[in-house]
Amino acid sequence: MSTPADAPAQPATPDLQLELVSNPIYLCAVREMMNLSARRLGFTDAHASQIALAVDEALVNVMKHGYERRLDGRIWLRMTPHHALGALADIEIVIDDRARQVDPGDIKGRDLEDIRPGGLGVHIIREVMDEVRYEKRDGGGMRLTMVKRPNSTAGANSNITPTNTNCSLCRDDHARP
């Protein structure tokens, strides 16, 4: 299982690969799976919640915008933790669909000043994850790749209220009652 240091980097096999139907009844199951997996990998409870939130928002977008609320689309989610020097280096999450292709530049939230329902999911994803990349898949459909590192400060400083330099999503409370 160890690779010589000079070997070409092999893409690691994901620890979890999930194919799910585009039915929102499964969203809570998947976000909780991500939450608990991230915790057991060594993320703080706060970071694990952020990862679960980003995955949830991304899946909702595929269901709403990609499959336009059809309940029979398929979504693929892959989760790969990377380790370096025996410690967790990051977690990579890839979400693929076979839905409508859109220009990655068109995937953006609303102006935050323009208060109205919606247009917030992409902001959240970009805020809480360290890397976020949308792309068109060769065979059709979209791919979203997200990376989160255990020492991440993404989502940690909200520039919203000057008095609040630490976003509470990053504090380590136990959100579940």
């Binding site: 976000r31 909702v60 208060i115 409370d173």
Partner: protein, 115 residues
């Protein structure tokens, strides 16, 4: 076996002020239950609507969107909407969306009712 609601919303009345107390997670699948409860509450023309989020362990943007819609109704019918009971993690989602300054948020239900 009838489908159970994915979110429960308790409704209380305190001399004309309606208090909604959702319990559970509020994502895309659950938000419509809250939306229905908010609309039904406004239909009864309360003096004020308080939403106590103490029992909400998880809030994603569909929940925020539902609350923003509530705020829009609140302005249209001129009935104050006040949020309370936000856990740190729920508040964080408001902060990222810059909605923490848009809503009236109090630290206790009493304050929300009387203010």
């Amino acid at each position: 076996m009838p489908d159970r609601e994915p979110l429960s919303v308790e409704v209380q009345d305190r001399s004309g002020v309606t208090i909604l107390i959702p319990a559970g997670e509020i994502g895309y699948h659950e938000a419509p239950v809250l939306q229905t409860a908010i609309r039904a509450a406004y239909d009864k023309k309360p003096r004020k609507l308080v939403i106590d989020l103490k029992g909400v362990a998880y809030m994603a943007t569909p929940g925020l969107a539902t609350l923003v819609e509530g705020l829009q109704i609140s302005k249209k019918v001129n009935t104050p909407l006040v949020l309370t009971g936000l856990t740190e993690r729920v508040l964080a989602v408001f902060e990222i969306a810059r909605l923490n300054t848009v809503f009236r948020i109090t630290s206790s239900v009493d304050e929300a009712v009387t203010l």
